[in-house]
């Protein structure tokens, strides 16, 4: 077994406190406990006995007796007799991750997560802020329950989904594969039968979900639709008040024009691009493509036409 030096260091640090509490354990049992060979364990022990605190004199080194009768005795653990504790940052990071995980649908062993989180919280109890660590994945309770049931029972899901690309509610049958969380947003990855391809759905955009037939038992499957269109890229001129668009929508700055920024932005669809530019109320101007520029102008004018002429 080849392990990284990081894994070995973690094992070395865990080894001493464990040996202190299991005085007289055999090399074979200890190796089995740490899931290493006896040779690897002996290499670890040889390394430990030349480790110590600064000064590194004979009385400042870890002293372990392991050459008599195949049993191990720690004679001097130096400062390593207590197990390492998580730092405040490590505890908080783990807590956040576990609480996020516990909120996702399709988790089969939620109890284990809750128990683990409780242990960490208890451990970090002197830092009172542990109880302020709360995470909420935005998803309707009934959707969560349905996704849960479908994932665990390997069943199809009938989704009503508010698609971002067209600002419409679409209905589709999907075969759920897994749930993931990225940057605090939950997603369902599934095979979409209507598209004939893998799709990712934001959990907070799923309006309703109904559990259907077991996966694989559907006789009729619509032929795969045409693949999604090639991604369109647009060039926009952004005023300072619209600069946030670069970060939120993964744009690339190409140039600066006075206080404004010229950016290239991937578009989910032309329609999505139109809505983005409209929402920015003049703080963004489309340079390219021409179709987007024209579509924005048309949409803005059509929208204005819905209001009575303003009295000057």
């Amino acid at each position: 077994v080849t392990a990284t030096s990081g894994e070995r260091l973690a094992r070395l640090l865990a080894l001493v406190p464990w040996l202190v509490r299991n005085d007289g354990v055999t090399i074979a049992d200890c190796a089995a406990h740490f899931n290493v060979t006896e040779e690897e364990l002996e290499r670890d022990l040889w390394l430990l006995v030349v480790c110590g605190t600064p000064g590194y004199g004979p009385d400042q080194l870890v002293d372990i007796d392991f050459w008599d009768e195949g049993v191990i005795h720690v004679l001097d653990p130096q400062t390593l007799e207590r197990p390492l504790r998580l730092t405040h940052e490590e505890s908080m990071t783990l807590l956040l991750a576990l609480r996020m995980l516990a909120q996702l649908p399709g988790i089969s062993d939620r109890d284990a997560i809750v128990t683990a989180a409780a242990k960490i919280e208890q451990n970090a109890s002197e830092v009172a802020s542990a109880r302020f660590v709360a995470v909420q994945v935005e998803v309707l309770p009934e959707v969560r329950a349905a996704v849960d049931a479908a994932l665990i029972g390997h069943r199809e899901l009938a989704l009503r989904y508010a698609a971002a690309t067209r600002d419409e509610v679409t209905e589709r049958i999907v075969e759920p594969i897994r749930v993931l969380a990225v940057d605090g947003i939950g997603y369902l990855e599934a095979f979409c039968q209507s598209a004939g391809a893998l799709r990712t759905f934001r959990l907070d955009r799923i309006l309703s979900a109904d559990v259907g037939a077991p996966i694989g038992e559907t006789v009729e499957r619509p032929s795969p639709a045409a693949p999604e269109q090639e991604p369109v890229t647009a060039t926009l001129r952004l005023a300072p008040s619209a600069r946030w668009v670069i970060d939120v929508h993964s744009g690339t700055e190409v140039a600066h024009e006075g206080p404004d920024t010229l950016v290239r932005l991937p578009l989910l669809s032309l329609d999505w691009g139109v809505r983005l530019v409209l929402s920015l109320g003049g703080a963004a101007t489309v340079r390219e493509p021409v179709e987007l520029r024209a579509a924005v102008a048309d949409a803005a004018e059509a929208a204005l036409a819905g209001y009575p002429r303003e009295v000057p």
Binding site: D167, L278, S279, T285, L304
Partner: protein
Amino acid sequence: VTVTGRAREQAPPQDFDIASFGTAESDERVRARVRVSPGRAASLRRRAVSDDAWTADEIVVEGASVEALASQICATGPDVVVLEPDDVIHAVRAGLAAVAAAHRSEESQ
């Protein structure tokens, strides 16, 4: 914000809970009544505070400010027309007019 003392001199109020503070809805929400084309503007309908938002022709939407609400409404283009209140109507019209001007004029090419 005014400095009144050193850090940690002030105890947080007894009933303060940072978890609910961060997610608390501001009291000052802005509402607007809008007309929506059938089957359109899903993004606005899912935020509606009125009943039957998925089928209704008129819905009530809410935002953190006039500007924020106007921005969301502008995004829906001709699918949505604001019926009231006046400040939201004005903000939406101003936003749309600015977009139209920026995309029809030659100088911004």
